[in-house]
Symmetry: C2
Subunit: 215 residues, 2 copies
């Protein structure tokens, strides 16, 4: 069993492509004093991403790094690694970032790249998870914060929240209901890093009391 | 969209292999007056199944039909169909029945063979769903009542319940927590048949208010 990180203030990098509502929920938790962390840098692969504006408004350094400006994905990711490292980010939180993460990036932040996915994994990996849930006719869906590995939404699960699916839900109403829970569990998952409570055993995350109770 | 059944008292057949706790939860709901149904016959493929004793104790006709006594699976299932039909069962509820159901059986009771599975489908199909959930490290699992189709735990979902997974859970503790919910949702799913509230559209079940709300 590997302890993911010792307790202490956490320096966070955000890698996002969109409106940045999960970034805001994390930033709000920090401001409220619920999360002993600092967001050191926000990177987006899209220059018109709303998250860049929102970050700048909060006086957080923001950067647009476009894959098209690099010769290949590995070189692009090396730029991301360099930027996060020079900003002293220890953990990279993906927030609506729509690309797979390569080996070099994963190895640069061991167990410290996290993602939030709008489904109860392992159900509904990949794109349009809420639509997938509606098409499958499930009565519960939810969201998952997980450590990023080489697969698409396959890494060890840190926290999840379950959400009912209603018969008259469309993609938007279900997405909104799930998003509310995303905003509650993402910073809580980061807090477990701050508290030094996360351990990894093979493909599984253990949270420290859980680990102790197993003794 | 197909209406599965018109409202009215429901004649139920039970097909089980084990201890029959889900059978008991259904029988209790009928006794309490929560479910307008009658259990007309219990069939087990195992002669030592506790469900047979429990059924007989409640004065319900019980039958052991062993696949090994028949030349092949199709002939065996024809015997099951004949027995359920002659008992006037309209719906067959699987309760811990560990075999796939063949085409002829499915066609004999259209949309009226139901199963309960100890996971939030589509996650963790097949055997040992609770162990699969523990090994995957999920934070929520649950149970699913679904209409049986040709696949293994793939049919249209009627009802689900979500259940938290705790860090110190073993297979037994998680199974027990899920089982409590199974006992709550199985008879409720059957009640939707009694009330004539179930509709099927492609691979999806709609419950009538849901259908109305979509108009």
């Amino acid at each position: 069993m590997i302890r993911v990180r010792n307790p202490g203030r956490l320096n966070v990098g955000i890698l996002a492509s969109g409106r940045g509502s999960n970034f805001e929920a994390i930033a709000d938790a920090i401001e409220r004093g619920d999360l002993n962390a600092e967001i050191k840098l926000i990177i987006s692969d899209k220059e018109d991403a709303l998250v860049l504006k929102k970050g700048a408004k909060r006086k957080i350094p923001v950067l647009c790094v476009k894959p098209g400006d690099f010769s290949d994905a590995a070189v692009y990711e090396r730029a991301l690694i360099a930027a996060f490292r020079s900003a002293e980010a220890e953990l990279v939180a993906l927030a609506g970032y729509m690309r797979l993460i390569g080996d070099e990036f994963i190895n640069a932040f061991p167990y410290c790249i996290v993602n939030i996915h709008p489904a109860l994994l392992p159900s509904f990996r990949g794109l349009n998870a809420q639509r997938q849930a509606l098409e499958a006719g499930v009565r519960f869906s939810g969201c998952t914060v997980h450590i990023v590995d080489r697969g698409m939404d396959t890494g060890p699960i840190i926290l999840q929240a379950a959400v009912p699916v209603c018969g008259d839900d469309d993609e938007e109403s279900l997405s909104n209901r799930i998003l509310e829970e995303e905003h509650k569990i993402y910073w809580r998952a980061l807090r477990l890093y701050c508290e030094g409570r996360l351990y990894v055993e093979e493909k599984k995350v253990l949270i420290s009391e859980e680990k102790d109770r197993r003794k």
